[in-house]
């Protein structure tokens, strides 16, 4: 018998627990030649701001051992463009589309959420309070529990869509932030965004990234991400979307056992454009091989 793969993220029903990590999958069509997007539980699209942004200087990407550092800087065409050009495409998809949002101020987050609230084809909002690549906003909100709660509440008040808040690992106590954000009404949490990092070119004696610092992702961050999901699961009762270095189903299963209800595949899509679907197929095979009837039985199963 086929196991049940359906999971709930707030009021959003996902046919299976696999989505994409924001910023690694564009708006969806970019990967359509390689993946039947409707087979995924959701897609999470590029971070969007009220106004278009041009992002950071190049180089924006550096390969590091088992990972990459990026400093894209939230380049995006802005909310109006998203609504006009991508929302019609989102409406044609059978899967859920989660739009990742960012702003410089609490008001901007709220305005953006309000603007996207009536847009059909958007299933949920993921609030990025954890981007290490922008000067204002971003991580500044994600590292202060009170500010994180304030943004969460403002977005919740501005939309009826499920609100997922994306947490930064660049904090001393991620559980404390999670508790505040959950208390402020978040429907779910995404754990984790990238780790702030840096690399230097020893020949030129200069930083390798145009922006000097960037966000580390890929297999190198997985143990940090698993630990973060583990701690957040113990701190809150809302669902968690786990991410950070998922390359294969085995990695995704670690996240689920640590407490993630769903998982997002990011950097892996660069290595293997079919990684999202291969992770999903692997999860299903694992459930069948182990006689587990429902994926939800596995969520947090490694917890004491």
């Amino acid at each position: 018998m086929k196991p049940n793969l359906q999971v709930h993220i707030g009021s959003m029903l996902m046919a299976n627990p696999v989505t994409t990590a924001s910023g690694t999958f564009g708006f969806g069509p970019e990967y359509a030649p390689y993946v039947n997007i409707d087979q995924l539980g959701a897609i999470t699209v590029k971070g969007t701001t009220l106004e278009p942004r041009e992002g950071n200087p190049t180089p924006r990407l550096v390969e590091t051992p088992a990972g990459i550092l990026n400093s894209i800087g939230l380049q995006n065409p802005g909310a109006d463009y998203l609504i006009e050009h991508y929302a019609p495409y989102f409406r044609e998809l059978k899967t859920n589309v989660i739009v990742n949002i960012a702003g410089n101020t609490v008001e901007e987050y709220a305005q953006l959420a309000a603007k996207l609230d009536p847009v059909q084809g958007i299933a949920a909002l993921e609030v990025n309070i954890s981007c290490p690549n922008v000067k204002k906003g971003g991580m500044a909100f994600g590292s202060d529990p009170a500010a994180a709660a304030e943004v969460t509440q403002a977005v919740k008040n501005a939309t009826s869509k499920p609100v997922i808040v994306k947490l930064s690992p660049n904090v001393s106590d991620i559980a404390a932030i999670a508790r505040e954000v959950a208390g402020a009404g978040a429907d779910a949490l995404s754990v984790i965004n990238t780790l702030l990092g840096m690399a230097i070119d020893i020949r030129q004696k200069k930083p390798l990234l145009g922006n000097i610092v960037g966000g580390l992702s890929g297999p190198a961050v997985k143990p940090v991400a698993i630990r973060a999901v583990w701690q957040v699961y113990q701190a809150v009762s809302i669902p968690i979307i786990g991410m950070g270095g998922i390359m294969a189903a085995e990695d995704a299963l670690e996240f689920i056992l640590a407490g993630a209800t769903a998982v997002a595949v990011g950097t892996a899509s660069f290595t293997n454009p079919r990684a999202t679907l291969e992770v999903l197929e692997g999860i299903e095979r694992y459930l069948m091989a182990n006689g587990i009837a429902d994926i939800n039985q596995l969520v947090g199963a490694a917890q004491p």
Partner: protein, 262 residues
């Protein structure tokens, strides 16, 4: 539509210092490819290196379903790729990107290649020769040993002008200087350029000065290769407005007059 597939290595050999030629069986990519496009190559089967490497499509044989690459070994990825043996499988995504704009059949065209920049231009000249264009290739290299693809260009009936930095073959100096002195731009319908950035910038300046059209193929570090991650931003000016374009999806080929060099 682009594919991802395992392609069998048919041949691999060194053609110049640090430079390798590789033939792969990839009929689905060869069939769709146009000159100037690239493939995103997984250089190992492990997670080291994690990212794919963009390499231009050097040549295709559609009847044989064969695709060829020409690459310089400069780091980890290309070094691993050069060690692949006939019979090995190499995972490719492609064809990717926007290629060169072809001229009217029979046009007089110039092709400027600097170093490994010759790689995509062989496929281009293949196509231009099929269109009965009159082709002059300006081929620049460090020295005689490093001159690439001159025989291939000649076989396709292109006129070949060689410039080497040390003068060990052809004209002594760089391609840009040669073109600056000797080109008759009024008789050239289109100029195609691929090489190191200073060379492309130099030729683009000549084209701008002569007010004639040209295209350059840009390089930028890439993640996804499909337009999703915005790693590969290049500055492009369109009607006076400068925006970031994606080298992988909006390029790698851009009109020479639109590129903002920095």
């Amino acid at each position: 539509m682009s594919k991802v597939l395992d392609a069998k290595v048919l041949a691999v050999y060194q053609v110049a210092p640090e430079t390798y030629y590789m033939e792969l069986e990839a009929p689905d990519i060869a069939r769709l490819a146009v000159p100037g496009q690239f493939v995103h190559v997984r250089c190992s089967e492990t997670q080291e290196p994690l990212l794919r490497r963009p390499l231009s499509i050097h040549m295709v044989s559609r009847p044989k379903g064969v695709l060829a690459l020409l690459f310089r070994v400069i780091g980890k990825g290309t070094e691993m790729l050069a060690q692949r043996q006939p019979g090995d499988l190499v995972n490719l995504m492609g064809p990717l990107g926007r290629g060169f704009t072809l001229p009217l059949p029979g046009s007089r065209v110039a092709v400027a290649a600097g170093g490994i920049g010759a790689a995509p231009l062989v496929f281009l000249v293949q196509e231009l020769a099929n269109m009965k264009c009159q082709i002059t290739v300006y081929l620049g290299a460090k020295d005689k040993k490093s001159v690439l693809c001159d025989g291939q260009f000649e076989q396709m009936d292109a006129e070949v002008v060689i410039a080497t930095d040390d003068g060990s073959l052809g004209w002594q100096g760089n391609v840009t200087d040669f073109m600056g002195r000797h080109m008759d731009w009024r008789r050239t319908a289109m100029t195609y350029v691929c090489g190191p950035k200073p060379m492309m910038q130099g030729v683009a300046a000549l084209l701008a000065e002569a007010d004639v059209p040209g295209e350059v193929s840009l390089e930028e570090h890439m993640g996804c290769g499909v337009g999703a991650c915005l790693s590969c931003a290049v500055k492009i000016s369109h009607h006076g407005k400068v925006t970031n374009k994606r080298a992988c999806a909006d390029g790698p080929v851009f009109p020479s007059w639109q590129v903002v060099w920095d």
